[in-house]
Amino acid sequence: MPLDTSAYSLALLRVDGRRWNELRRIHAQIRTQAAADGSSYLEMGHTKVMCVVTGPSEPGPRRGTAGAGAAGASKAVAEVAVSVVVAGFSSVDRKKRGRNDKRNLELQSTIANALAASLHTHLFPHSVIQVSLHVLSQDGSLLAALINAATLACVDAGIPMTDYVVACTAGSTSTYAAGDESADPLLDLNHQEEQELPGLTVATLGESDRVAVLVCESRVQVGRLEGMLAVGVDGCKQVREILDRVVRDKGKRMVLEGTVAKGEGLEDMDLD
């Protein structure tokens, strides 16, 4: 189904009625699962993912495709092992993607390497942080949603980290590959836009401009990269705000419910 990009230039509205710099609704929860060390649930539009973190714990016997070890050989730091399970019912047509699918392995290794750079893995030598991600529903920006969910779950698991690793996608209107000066950058692509337009996934470290992950899989003029990257990095800052709110709200609720004691130095925490 071709995307009618001519409509965009008329009203400057995208297929789902958003403006160029609007994120889709992000809904996130942490501590969704009692038995896990850390867990989260994240929706970016209709993309829905769940994450469960186990560890840091002693590495068990290696079994199956545990995922991509970021640290690999050296035992001085914890290994981040990621496994991504894409549910068969997650896309419109049921498609079974094997766990050894190369695309899946690439996703796993990207997430593992991105997290390992932010988590303080040197505090946990000889151990494993097992991150398992489940994709329940897909509507574009899959890698971004997975990274965000994994970050939230790691926060919930209480693993020290430099800052949130937050991600979102950015694209560019018009598929015309040659220099089209009027092409506008777009923020947060849905599935339909992802199919039709050039786009990239960006993950940054917190509010900084430092890019941890940059994945572009479509053909695009080099001149448009700057605009897309700028919009993407800006989107990441917005995502960070949202995720931070989720974590703070949960923390506040836990203090109010008496699940946890108010930490030291938090006396001025706003509890209303």
Partner: protein, 293 residues
Amino acid sequence: MPREAEPSLNERQFILQALQENLRLDGREFDQYRPLELTFGDQYGVADVTLGKTRVLAKASAEVTVPYVDRPLDGIFNIATELSPMASPAFEVGRPTETEVLLSRLLEKTVRRSGALDTESLCLVAGQKVWSVRVDVHVLSHDGNLIDAACLAVVAALRHFRKPDTSMESGILTVYTPAEREPVALSWLHSPFCVTWSYFGDEGEIALLDATWREEQVRVGSCTISLNRHGEICQIAKLGGTPVEAVTLLQCTNTALTKVKEFSSFLDKKLAEDIKRRDKGGLMAELSAENDR
């Protein structure tokens, strides 16, 4: 599982310290490639790329098969990579390592998904017969920067490749041997090349091109950018690692573009040389009445 020997702490320190002082172990500039060589085999579609001590051989081949049911008008195009224990003891046969998976994904995204080869031109009879083009990548020696070398080898092999000529007459497909008719080149749309940056330092502030295997073991992150000489990005992959300033990435992309243009003219030159070599004497030799006797 066998593992690569790790650089010792001293070695690691030494390399990093030198980089801080703007020095590389082999005395290159930060954005300088090792000496690049490309040779073609006697057969069409064999390319051998040497980049310093890294050596990659790619061989293209084609056969007639049945197309996929969902794409009856498209030919089949595959890139197969295999890292054998010959290249490094860390590679095992039959068990793809992370390096191998990422390499094959990158090549696929760079060459296949960017539409470098016109797969529709490979169709012979819609829904029944198509050419299946396959490139096998063999890593003969691994001294870092496999991706750039492998990508160059794949593109060179495909552009050098000639598939047998065919004709359709009243529903009968004839495939001619090279003796009957001169084989034809593939319908090639653009030539993408990979340029891989390696980052060093706590903030990833030092960026190197064409890292050796030693340097790759010490780096904190990498970013592979694929472009063609028209300035089109075919793929960018910075898969995790230490975060790098967005501005640095943009600069890296621009430098990559100049490198890609160099690769592109280098390949064009080599291809032209090869044609000249094959065509020794050219038409005049053929017309000559003299024989070798």
